[in-house]
Amino acid sequence: MMNNAVTLSKAETANNIPLIELKDIYKIYHMGDTDVHALDGVSMKIFKGEFVAIVGQSGSGKSTCMNIIGCLDVPSVGKYYLRGKDVSTMNDDEQAEIRNKELGFIFQQYNLIPKINVQQNVELPLMYAGLSEREQAKRALASLDKVGLKSKAKNMPQQLSGGQQQRVSIARALAGDPSIILADEPTGALDSKTGKEVLQFLKQLHSEGNTIVLITHDNTIAAQAERVIRVQDGQIVYDGEPDISKFAQVAHAGDEDGDGA
């Protein structure tokens, strides 16, 4: 916990208002007679410039957590402040605007639209932001250049390899210059070599000052981040340094608890 405090104080000196602040978030699904607590009182603060990995096994609530951070879903109870603004009470259109302006998504399945070319895919968030076509093209190409795929701008997504497609989706996430990059299992569909490249690229983005939230089930990938939040049964069980022996132990203990219960 001391490490956690150190991390926070380091970040707080950079900026007093957290970029992301979850306050006692619950997400409850009603499945017949029983209530499933996907998130069970989660609170966290993420500051600008951090590289945070949210790690947990499937069903732990990490995806729900990412959906809420990504404004793709709303909490049942609790408050979510993004840059000090209460996002949890916003309507659909306002949330869409937040997603557009503040968030850049990188998905496991890349989620490129197959019918339009690479450049048009990267232009999408810019288009929804209402930029002029010229500006869209300029920024999209700059963003593709950053991931080294400017030459593939006119290709269709399926003409690219998995790693390249993931880089296009990174370019798309970067194009709108978001405050937070949310990466949901970005290496899940890639072989280990390309997976490493993508991770390396995320690290590089972080070193350039981007705030990155990485969601993964893989401890070794989580260990690449500078801060790890471990989620289990809808609760945060570890928040601190990516010292693999420490958070993995917690994880192990949690598993046993879960099995025992």
Partner: protein, 392 residues
């Protein structure tokens, strides 16, 4: 999302699966094509009918009167005076005295035909063309001259082409000199518009039993005032004769208007039937758009995750439906126009689709797409982003 981008996207989606797009559009193509063909053919038919009526003189008013005797009687002087008193309405008058079943003889040939007694203005009223010689003149009328102007059927029957001028023929025993031959109007056969003989009405009256002129043709200044002219004439006759049983005022225009109303009603009916196929095509488009929304749920989720608002998604799908339908409409217009012109040629009609018909069909096809695309678009817009993203 700009309209231009939505439109481009809609077009590229249209091209993505050409077979499906074509099948989706087929209903629209047939519907719009049918509407265009029907409207064109009907208006071609109306045009032909109007031309035929125009030959009969749509800007004339025909007055029929019966002899009531005494001061209630009416003669050509009354009619001439009435026409001259209303120069803004009438520009010419011709009494019309028909000698029906006139026995016409020249040399050893003889035929039975109708001879009509008319005034010198008749040539203008009926817009006759004189090929050789001249038409009857005022002097001929005044002098009750025994002159006649004949159609090409009479000319060829008795004298041969171009040899009638100055020749004589006998009508019911009276000798007439041919002073003019009309231009061939039809095919120079018996009973056609070339089977005519015009003589001065004054002469015709002397040959008729009653000596009473029972028919007049009044030439109005314009087709548009025919109805007012009829009313005015009726009023005049009512004042003079005092009993509507003794006179009748009519016009080809009235008959033409009636015929046009009838064909118009028929056209509306046929277009309505074709319109049903447009409706059906709209339902087809709605169906395929609903399928498309389901198929593209993931795409919608991706777009939403990138910041597309409900309105953006709705617009995209509405424009897509409108585009499919509009392109179908354009193809329908092209196919319909070609077929209309082809059928028109076969039926010898001038069936060319009007700009109005084309614009309206295009508008309707786009409109149907937008209306029937709205429900699927709304479904797409209301998808929850996270469910849509998870959709396989």
């Amino acid at each position: 999302m700009t309209l231009k981008k939505s439109f481009q996207l809609a077009l590229s989606n249209l091209m993505f699966d050409k077979m499906r797009s074509l099948l989706t559009m087929l209903g629209m193509i047939i519907g719009v094509g049918a509407v265009i063909i029907l409207i064109s053919l009907m208006s071609g038919m109306m045009g032909m009918m109007n031309d035929e009526f125009a030959k009969l003189g749509t800007d004339t008013v025909t007055v029929s009167v019966q002899d009531r005797g005494g001061s209630r009687s009416i003669d050509e002087d009354d009619i001439y005076k009435f026409a001259q008193d209303n120069p803004d309405m009438f520009r010419g008058v011709s009494p019309s005295v028909t000698i029906a079943g006139a026995f016409v003889k020249s040399g050893s040939n003889d035929i039975t035909t109708n001879a009509t007694g008319v005034s010198e203005e008749y040539i203008n009223i009926k817009q006759l063309d004189v090929e050789q010689g001249r038409f009857l003149s005022y002097i001929d009328i005044e002098k009750k001259a025994k002159y006649c102007v004949i159609g090409t059927y009479i000319e060829r029957e008795f004298f041969g082409q171009g040899r009638a001028m100055g020749q004589t023929l006998r009508i019911n025993g009276k000798t007439f000199t041919v002073i003019g031959v009309l231009k061939e109007d039809d095919d120079s056969t018996s009973g056609s518009t070339d089977d005519v003989m015009y003589i001065p009405y004054t002469t015709a009256v002397t040959m008729s039993a009653s000596k009473f002129i029972s028919s007049y043709t009044l030439w109005t200044t314009s087709v548009d005032i025919v109805d007012t002219a009829i009313a005015k004439t009726k009023q005049f006759l009512e004042n003079k004769i005092g009993d509507s049983d003794y006179y009748n005022v009519s016009s080809i225009k009235q008959i033409m208007d009636m015929a046009n109303t009838m064909t118009g009603t028929m056209q509306t009916l046929l277009v309505c039937i074709a319109g049903i196929s447009l409706l059906v095509s709209g339902i087809g488009i709605m169906n395929i758009m609903l399928v498309s929304v389901t198929e593209r749920t993931r795409e919608i989720g991706i777009r939403k995750s990138l910041g597309a608002k409900a309105k953006d998604i709705k617009t995209q799908f509405v424009i897509e439906a409108g585009t499919v339908s509009g392109v179908g409409g354009l193809i329908g217009i092209a196919v319909g126009s070609v077929l209309a012109v082809t059928f028109g040629r076969l039926l010898e009609l001038n069936a060319v689709p009007s700009v109005g018909a084309i614009l309206i069909s295009f508008g309707i096809s786009v409109g149907i797409g937008v209306i029937f695309g709205y429900l699927p678009a709304k479904n797409a817009a209301n998808l929850n982003p996270i469910d849509a993203l998870r959709h396989e």
